[in-house]
């Protein structure tokens, strides 16, 4: 019929698959309370439960990369310059692209839902094993360690008001059916904000439709310019601002599939006393089409000799059969700090986007900074005392940097000393260190609470917002800290409705006290 080319691309943009097993959700990591036989680190990579919770997509390969290193100081306090920061990023580049390759764990699941787990390039060597899914199992390593493993369905351990977050950044697809071809209508060019903007009818809460934006409840995109032309925050008759957050848990009742491991630190590094920071991140890879048709059953060698060393086998050849889809290290590293889709694939290598990170942080600062000021709090972002949030983007990092400098370099206070149970001289972490590289950096001398790792009970979405607070300021005689916005008393006293913390304070299901820690699936 046709003498023209027809690559069926129409099918690519109208894809029916909304959620994919490649969608990584979270990476949790913290030191285990169980120190019998030595220190252990808990890591959990969670992702979409496709095809369903406890059942894995056999085309996927999940990868957890792990690199244990000594705790090092970033640029000193007298190096708070763009040049110093870029030098720091350059040094990271050397470290992550240099010869010191991270060890890794790869997981695939076969048609019988048996998981093949490969441990690669650990100090004790490499080996592989097979595990039943949805069962807690203990893996004995060739060098005598015991690793607890669970690969299966769980309750989603993330708890947050995702709709509130999307309302804060005016993210249209959460609230509207945005046509596939309308690629520019994602984050609309409306100031990002924590407080509703007067007249922002595109995103403000509608009391007549309180479920709008929740659970897939969307509207048609209205005609006309998708912008906002106001000049102030909205205030109700009582003079209260309207919070974009509701404190609701949008993840309640949602399951995930997860890879959860509890690994002896001595298995990860030969020098556990020196290497106190365990940097880790997760990746999802999907089998390439060409390799799908060339697939042969799992190598019988693995099944017959599960403990055999696999040094001799070129696993790079395995990875070449897959395509990297998603990465996960720090919460909000891509959802908030990048509007570039390709950042999803950069993972620990996100230092390539470091200048973009600075510009994006300044863009967010112009939104969140004035909101914080309006509430009578001090912000770390220099917004020239703007009375209302501003939509501003930067093409030059040199212009963005002075605005975001304090936000980038300030040390984030912790609410108390419980994070540092040994009372060691551990420097407070700074945003630029937290987000670049995009890894979960677990400090083994701490409890692993964010940003020294990430514990299940951490309300990271609210802690993320605390970056925009000025941590040198004080409230009621106490320095601002990462939990300040998670304090109900703060909101009770604020001129705002609803009087709620931004995000829920706990998960919808109690976490377990023992491995695998994440709650049973629903």
């Amino acid at each position: 019929m046709a003498d023209h080319n027809d690559p069926n691309a129409v099918n690519s943009i109208f894809s029916d698959i909304d959620v994919s097993a490649a969608d990584l959700y979270d990476f949790f990591g913290f030191p285990s309370a169980d120190t019998d036989g030595g220190e252990k680190v808990v890591m959990a990579l969670t992702f979409a439960s496709v095809p369903k919770a406890g059942v894995f997509d056999t085309d996927m390969l999940y990868r957890m990369q792990i690199s244990a290193d000594p705790r090092v100081a970033g640029p000193s306090d007298d190096e708070h310059t763009l040049k110093g920061l870029l030098r720091y990023f350059e040094a990271l580049k050397e470290r992550y692209l240099g010869p010191s390759k991270a060890a890794e764990i790869r997981v695939t699941v076969d048609q019988n839902q048996q998981a093949t787990v490969k441990f690669i390039d650990f100090p004790g060597g490499s080996f592989a094993t097979t595990l039943e899914t949805n069962q807690v199992r203990t893996i004995q390593t060739p060098d005598g360690h015991s690793i607890k493993a669970y690969i299966g369905g769980r309750d989603d351990a993330f708890f947050n008001d995702l709709t509130g977050f999307f309302r804060s950044i005016n993210y249209a697809p959460q609230f509207y059916h945005v046509p596939h071809t309308m690629t520019s209508a994602r984050e609309l060019k409306i100031p990002k904000t924590l407080l509703e903007l007067e007249g922002n009818h595109l995103f403000n809460f509608d009391p007549n439709d309180p479920e709008w934006g929740y659970h897939g409840n969307k509207r048609e995109l209205p005609p006309g310019p998708l912008t906002w032309n106001g000049d102030k925050f909205f205030k109700d008759a009582n003079g209260n601002y309207r919070f974009v957050y509701s404190g609701r848990d949008c993840q309640a009742g949602i399951n995930v599939n997860a890879i959860i491991l509890e690994i002896p630190l001595a298995f990860i590094t030969k020098s556990p006393d020196r290497d106190r920071i365990v940097n880790c991140w997760g990746e999802s890879w999907v089998l390439k089409a060409a390799n799908k048709i060339e697939t042969i059953p799992d190598h019988p060698f693995w099944l017959e000799h599960p403990w055999a060393l696999i040094d001799a086998i070129k696993l790079d050849a395995e990875l070449k059969k897959y395509k990297l889809v998603d990465t996960d290290g720090q919460p909000f590293a891509d959802a908030a700090l990048s509007e570039r889709e390709d950042n999803r694939q950069l993972g620990a290598n996100n230092f390539w986007l470091a200048p973009h990170f600075i510009k994006r942080l300044a863009h967010l600062g112009w939104g969140f900074g004035p909101s914080i000021s309006a509430l009578g709090l001090q912000t770390s972002f220099d917004h020239d005392n703007s009375p209302v949030s501003v939509h501003k983007t930067y093409s030059l990092v040199t212009k963005a940097f002075p605005r975001a400098k304090k936000t980038l370099f300030q040390r984030l206070n912790m609410p108390d000393d419980s994070w540092n149970p040994k009372g060691l001289n551990i420097p407070l972490r700074r945003p630029f260190e937290i987000f670049v590289p995009n890894v979960c950096a677990i400090d083994m001398d701490t409890t692993g609470t964010w940003p020294y790792g990430r514990r299940l009970e951490d309300q990271v979405a609210t802690r993320f917002l605390s970056m925009f607070l000025d941590h040198t300021a004080e409230l009621n005689g106490k320095k601002y800290h990462v939990e300040l916005l998670n304090d109900q008393a703060l909101w009770d006293a604020a001129p705002i409705e609803p009087k709620t913390v931004p995000n829920p304070q706990k998960n919808d299901k109690e976490f377990l006290t023992d491995f695998p820690y994440l709650a049973e699936p629903w």
Binding site: H4, T181, T183, K288
Partner: protein
């Protein structure tokens, strides 16, 4: 007794049918639900494309008209409409569809389709430049495949292979139909070079990737015809026609029978194809003009009729292919001077194709003994030593 497992084609078709059944009633309700009606039209379009049933495109087009009437200038709706018009060779309409929505025009899929339109209308540089820009922005498999096709037509087979390699590398296990489609394109590239073994490998890979697709059989039938496995080719065409009773496949089978010396069978097939082509044209459809020109020029050797249909196609789109078809029709009509003029315009596009060079050679041979005929025939043989073997008009 064990049932035969369903093929990938059947599984996907079932899924589409189920999706259409779920939407067919509610999607039409007022106030119209944009998501539902778009999805319905998309599924109808997808079904038509999968089954090769062009009449079903009209069903999708009707859904789109209804949706546009109620929803206005929605980019997604016009994108689907543009794709339907493209399949039906209504290129002016494609241009209008793309103009209907600024969002669509600026979106990557809209830009890719505009570049396809440029290619079809002979604006080769514009097409190539846009393909390259799209690839620079995102190395998507479909943009790579588009540029690969461009290079294939321009005779840069190495670059076409490289780009197809890259396109294949972008495709995942979740996109097996697309993968099979790219493998078929790669087979066509090798077929036009006369490399039948490689062609077979590509087609077999396509079948393994996405089982049960008539499109793979249709390509395989051509290969079998080219390699002289004529009985098997005919049987394969018959199976394809039983599933997809399209006149262009009847034409192909008819030409195969001619090559086998089965004139009676050929006559039936070709008459049937001719009737269907004419009926289509009488309904105002334009997508078989090219086939009518070929049929009259190559098979019936009726120059006047060939010129008539080739001119209609040329009026729609002035590209190397329609120019060559017109030149060939004029050759059949004995108008060698005009034939040469148009053939030269076709060759000026830069396209390098064995069939085109063969036709250029024959026209030169008829026009004057200037030696160019020999050159062109040699160029045709250099690309494909077997250029005179059985082939279909794609």
């Amino acid at each position: 007794m064990l049932n035969n497992p369903k093929s990938d084609f059947e599984i996907e078709l079932d899924r589409m049918d189920q999706g259409i059944a779920e939407l067919e009633d509610s999607a039409w309700n007022l106030p119209i639900d944009r998501v539902k009606i778009t999805k319905l039209a998309y599924l109808q379009y997808q079904r038509a494309a999968l089954t090769g049933n062009l009449a079903e495109l009209t069903v999708a087009d009707n859904s789109l008209d209804y949706a546009i009437e109620h929803l206005g200038r929605d980019g997604d709706l016009y994108f689907l409409k543009a794709n339907i018009h493209f399949k039906l060779h209504r290129l002016d309409d494609v241009g209008l569809d793309l103009e209907a929505s600024a969002d669509l025009r600026q979106s990557p899929p809209g830009r890719a389709l505009k570049a396809d339109l440029d290619f079809q209308q002979g604006r080769y540089n514009a097409a190539r430049d846009e393909y390259e820009r799209l690839i620079e922005e995102e190395r998507s498999w479909d943009a790579l495949a588009r540029l690969a096709y461009f290079n294939f037509k321009m005779g840069d087979f190495g670059e076409a292979d490289r780009l197809y390699d890259e396109a294949v590398d972008e495709l995942t296990a979740k996109e097996m139909r697309h993968y099979a489609w790219v493998e078929l394109q790669r087979g066509v590239v090798d077929l036009t070079r006369g490399d039948y073994e490689k062609t077979r490998e590509h087609y077999q890979r396509a079948e393994r990737a996405y089982s049960g697709h008539w499109l793979v059989d249709e390509h395989l039938a051509e290969l079998l015809g080219a390699t002289g496995e004529s009985d098997e080719a005919a049987a394969t065409y018959q199976r394809v026609i039983a599933r997809v009773p399209r006149p262009d496949f009847q034409q192909a089978l008819g030409e195969l029978y001619l090559s086998m010396g089965k004139n009676a069978e050929a006559k039936d097939c070709l008459a049937s194809a001719e009737t269907a082509f004419i009926e289509s044209a009488e309904r105002g459809e334009v997508h078989y003009y090219h086939h009518l020109a070929d049929l009259y020029a190559d098979v019936f050797e009726n120059g006047a009729e060939a010129v008539k249909w080739a001119q209609k196609d040329l009026n729609l789109r002035r590209n190397f292919s329609t120019l060559a078809a017109m030149a060939w029709a004029l050759y059949r009509a004995g108008e060698f001077s005009k034939a040469l003029e148009l053939m030269n315009e076709s060759l000026a596009s830069g396209v390098k194709d064995a069939r085109l060079f063969y036709q250029a050679g024959m026209i030169h041979k008829a026009f004057s003994p200037n030696g160019k005929a020999h050159n062109y025939l040699r160029m045709a043989a250099a690309i494909n030593p077997n250029y005179e073997n059985f082939h279909v008009h794609r």
